[in-house]
Subunit: 357 residues, 2 copies
């Protein structure tokens, strides 16, 4: 069973909308869950797309760990900023809400920044940053998780083997004129957890340099990967930079939102925290001039001579854009595990599923 | 001649102030050149301190490549933002001006962002971000340089061996209550150019993983290092992230400031560009609560069990703070080359120099 199935983006939208509304999520909130998954799957970010629909976003409602009726609550606000609690609702819903609010504030004042505590998995950070681009804004999104007493699987600080952070991703999106938008979407570890999980799903090994096992030895087996190295790897090759970026993400998400807070047992974080920001390019110059200059920068990078074995240089967001064009034609490819998940949901919720072969 | 000399921070301040004012720099501008160097040298960032005083900041005025009388010109401004030209003046002067303006705007509105074109070497990016911290702000500084047609020494894009960027550094500084301020100051390449130059000064080799020679082969000889690898190294271990960060720095500096501009021979950048930003923590919450939470986050990271061969975990800015306390007592250690540079300036400008042994 290695032949792939496909699902069109619109068939997935319709199917997942019906499933989610049967879990007690509102139709609007369901859209906010679905669109980031479609974005990721169309753009080839298969680690953060349809793959996660059942386990991250449906099962968690069914088992009661996420509240589908959660109302997001603003706890402090200025014309340019807000902090809010997600009240343990879906992380995609809270993040989409946060980015819409950031864009609305930026449209009114020039910049908007929203920090959100007590939320859940963000999905592909790039999706939220990308929402700013059509407004001629630069967008930023982040998601942070610090385990105050350590955890079994996550990013360890430089000079330690104790996982302390999630892989604390962030994304920055910048509009271009004719080139596809620039989108850098990165974990501050070498790779996100899902990339290792994804290799495990497929029975593949992982490169040395991504993770260590629980004893601190390099591993190529995704099943034994417990310690995620910070971007840069060892101290000598810049691991303190990945570690430092993870701390910045934490400060912007959990600390600005007051989600990392003092309690009976000292400080701890209430689930996952996010940051969404956007600012208007016309705070500096005419957006079309800026976007034409972005095109020219990317053109000049395309002119850089390719190294042996490579055809050309790609800037972040470009391969994803090309994949999106292709998958709008072919549909989203699904692994056996993803097909099995969707079929299980189809039966569980009595919703018809349309797959292509 | 391997025994070190020392100079106290105040003796260096007095000496360099006299030298710079004799080059036609104003006394205030001289202070703006000197303080970032003192900051770097006291904090152990020897690559960006006294080492560079003669070659980067005095010789360049003497040889006419930098204009000591340059007036910074604002080209567009809003209550929260500005773009300006440095008019080919000293990069430290322009950056200090830019950060003061960003802090002033943030004090009035919540946030300030200043993008500056046609400037010169930034020095230690961390210094400028650090200026925001005492105002209960989070500070950001960046410096970007794109060579539209490539250059002989710099960062190459992933999948290319053609150097296109400088090492495009940025820094983020975040205040704490009792802990020293968090300061991440990083090139978006594995290491900055100066770190390789510094090894060369001392006749030391460099680790494999920092640079390639002009043929694209890994090198441990700083004299043959031409291609600077982006943070993350190869594509497999996240080199596209360092490359993407370099593009973001470029967009925030040269593109927002209109320094990357269309001319007779297509687009090119007028020297080096900077970005300085600051925002007030009280846009989100009471700064003292935030700073106490920063302390608690750092405390929890300090509790992470150290790996074999290490005593403890350090967060960015911490080793630098400890070094600063020590060097305020001992003075700044100087290599033979640095001593020779200062003695040459002492003779050239007839300014007395006070060194310790």
């Amino acid at each position: 069973m290695t032949d792939y199935h496909f699902i069109t983006a619109n068939d997935f939208r319709q199917f997942s909308q019906e499933v989610l509304t049967k879990t007690d999520l509102s139709s609007n909130d369901a859209d906010d869950v679905i669109e980031p998954l479609v974005y990721a799957s169309l753009r080839g970010i298969d680690t953060h797309g349809v793959r996660n629909f059942k386990s991250y976003y449906v099962d968690t409602i069914v088992d009661g760990s996420i509240d589908p009726q959660a109302k997001i609550g603003i706890e402090f606000e200025t014309p340019m900023s807000a902090r809010a609690t997600g009240n343990n609702g879906n992380g995609l819903v809270a993040s989409a809400w946060g980015m819409r609010l950031a864009i609305e504030k930026a449209a009114a004042t020039g910049i908007g920044m929203v920090s959100i505590r007590n939320s859940n998995h963000l999905g592909a950070a790039g999706y939220f940053a990308y929402l700013a681009v059509e407004h001629d804004m630069i967008g930023v999104s982040m998601s942070g998780h610090l385990y105050g007493n350590g955890t079994s699987r996550g990013m360890a600080p430089v000079f330690s083997l104790q996982p302390m952070f999630g892989t604390n991703p962030f994304a920055v999106a910048i509009p271009c004129e004719k080139q596809p938008p620039f989108v850098l979407d990165m974990s501050t570890s070498v790779v996100p957890v899902n990339k290792v999980e994804f290799a495990k799903d497929r029975g593949e090994s992982i490169p040395i340099g991504w993770c260590l096992d629980e004893n601190g030895n390099p591993t190529s087996d995704p099943a034994t990967a417990k310690i995620y190295l910070p971007l840069g790897g060892s101290r000598e090759t810049g691991g303190h930079k990945g570690f430092g970026l993870a701390i910045i993400v934490e400060a912007m998400t959990a600390l600005l939102s007051a989600g990392w807070a003092d309690g009976d047992n000292g400080y701890s974080q209430d689930k996952i925290a996010h940051f969404m920001g956007a600012f208007r390019i016309d705070m500096f110059r005419e957006p079309s001039d800026f976007k034409v200059a972005m095109d020219a920068m990317i053109d000049s990078l395309h002119q850089a001579a390719p190294a042996a074995g490579h055809d050309r240089v790609y800037v972040p967001g470009e391969i994803e854009h090309e994949t999106q064009q292709e998958r709008l034609r072919t549909g989203i490819p699904l692994s056996d595990k993803e097909v099995a998940d969707l079929l299980a949901l189809s039966e569980q919720f009595d919703v018809p599923l349309n797959l292509l072969r």
